[in-house]
Symmetry: C2
Subunit: 393 residues, 2 copies
Amino acid sequence: MGFSHLSRPGESFSAAELTPSARAVFRSLVAGGPSTRPQIGEQLALSRPTMSASIGELERLGYVEKIGESQGSLGRKAALYRVGAGAGHVVAIDAGSTHVRLRVATLDHRLLHSRTYRLPTSHRLMNEEISRAVAEEFAAAATETEAGWGPLRAIGIALPSRVVGDGAERASTRQDELFTHFAPPAGPKLVLENNVNCAAVAENVYGVAQGRQDFAYIQIGLKLGMGLMLGGRLIRGRNGAAGEIGHLAYPFAPGHTPVAGEAETYLGTEALMQRVRDAWPEAPPPPPEDAGDLFARAEKDEVAAREQVERHAADIGALVASCVALVDPGLVVLGGGVGTSPLILPIVRKVANALSYAVSVETSSLGPDATVLGIEKLAVDRALDVVLAQPSP
Amino acid sequence: MGFSHLSRPGESFSAAELTPSARAVFRSLVAGGPSTRPQIGEQLALSRPTMSASIGELERLGYVEKIGESQGSLGRKAALYRVGAGAGHVVAIDAGSTHVRLRVATLDHRLLHSRTYRLPTSHRLMNEEISRAVAEEFAAAATETEAGWGPLRAIGIALPSRVVGDGAERASTRQDELFTHFAPPAGPKLVLENNVNCAAVAENVYGVAQGRQDFAYIQIGLKLGMGLMLGGRLIRGRNGAAGEIGHLAYPFAPGHTPVAGEAETYLGTEALMQRVRDAWPEAPPPPPEDAGDLFARAEKDEVAAREQVERHAADIGALVASCVALVDPGLVVLGGGVGTSPLILPIVRKVANALSYAVSVETSSLGPDATVLGIEKLAVDRALDVVLAQPSP
DNA sequence: CCCATTTGTTATGCGGCTTTATGAAATGCT
DNA sequence: AGCATTTCATAAAGCCGCATAACAAATGGG
């Protein structure tokens, strides 16, 4: 069999050579959670001897571990395996503008540790404060690292800004500000991703877009953003700017000259509230304090509030129609403070379908953890690439 | 080696079993044109014995054939191979609204036969006339089929309408009208694709978008359309409606209510000419006859014409900006009658970049054959799937 | 307690490939 | 012409990853 390269365990650490079926078995355990040998064998159509060899390889490296024996209405007990500590873990950080959320998890998404830090004030943009918070939270989590979690494979960070790969020009990106106070360790892979894209990934893994090959996640709140998944892959774009729907041509009509970023300004919460205040009748009920107030009163059937909300929903419907016209995702998931309001859903649905092709519109069901769960998934994917990397030559 | 299943040649026709390396060799010949054994061997990192075996398999099936010996500044001559007649051929048809173009080609894109039929009048939509023309052209081509071209593997047809796969609802599609007079033979695979998508494929293979992983082909003429290629794959959308930019929300501005399909109407050639006529000054030069006239006179620096063209170009720039904002393709190729005018290019470039992220804008360099070349490529791809299909169980 | 049933291990073989060795053909130098 | 050199093709041997087959071990039911 040629195990000579494994005779001194721990020596050839990163260059772990695995047989293809061992890789498949590991992937199955990561995706499907704890399973017995025959379960995996049947799922992957592998023979029992091959399973034996694969599990042997993985167990020797600590990538999997036996966690018991299981059931069998008849016959011998089957051994139950799961991803082992040797496979390591990941840290996922949602570096939001109002809070920093952190999760430490195994490659099969078992939560090892979790923290949340609320930033003192609401910052609109990536800045030093966030960088400092990330550094502190990461350091705090690192001290809690228990032995037995294995090596840290990847650090994923979700950012509220455009994110570009190493190749492209990153001048206009704010992503570098993250590192003013936070110095990531050298070993683990660093995974940066836009927070809206992360939310889309989370919807795809845990939410209403579960398993969908094609859909768009559209976030409507203070700012606008879209995460696109087409053909099962996240669409990032050449400059990491895919999904910047705030830059749709707007106003786009005869006699008007579009202004850069105006769609975001007009459809964002601030401009909405300004319009609401301007159009508010003189009569008794005073104009709403903020967007939350507006939607709450609209739900109570307060006429003026309702009218404003419905008009805004129609605008959003037009926005969604534009997205549908370009990529025809088949499903649009609405997220963000305004996007998740139950009032706007039927109107957006109606307008979008009237203006473009058939599209399902649903409201995001994931809570505030969506972003951190999405970046965790991406970090795990990256970690798997490393763990299961085949030797290059 | 186990060649028993090949002992009676021609018997196991469709279930040709090929080794993985033989498949790779065949693919290399298809993609790279005629090559010598050592060239392929080096490119695929295959040993000479493996090359020998692979070529042997392929030659026995007629999939490749020796077409000579070649070069060598020193040493023995190398045998030169190319895709053989046994691999078969494809028929590609551009069923346009003004003409039907047909090409018969081998899997390595050697042109075997070509015809063009100009429809008597300009039909806007898929209709019986086109179906009849397709049937006639296909039948005429079939009679010319020379022995030695091998089996017909696939028929590709580019349609000026939405195209959906077998699964989705095709009610609102006009694609079925194609078959009112044209009955395709049962054997070969049928490949249907939207004509704009085909043009995009052609740009990707032969044109200015050669080898690009991400770009958008935007056609501006009587109608508007976009072919999207992201991550090296054509984006078709859930209902085959991706790229229907004519359905962008328009007019999209405060106080306006968008109308379905209005972007196409407004930015299409007819509406443009109507506006031009309405705005034309009373003075001597009479308003232009048609779009061609308008652009010709604009190029001659006729002030009124120039003004109109520039305003239209700015509108198109806004349209392009919307596409860029959503998918950030990095490159936009302009096609179609209006899109290829050299006058609009710099303005579109400027407006698109001002409104959204960095994007290259280029003019299509492929002539009227673009669509048929694109569908030919897609038909060949499909044919390869068939020829190189591995036995399922 | 024996037996059917399921799980895990060991032995053997096969397909697809590589490497090594050997033979054949074309070229330049003497 | 004869020869070394270079390149291409074939033959033989062996590796790697997997499957099949046969056997050993564990478990519950008559």
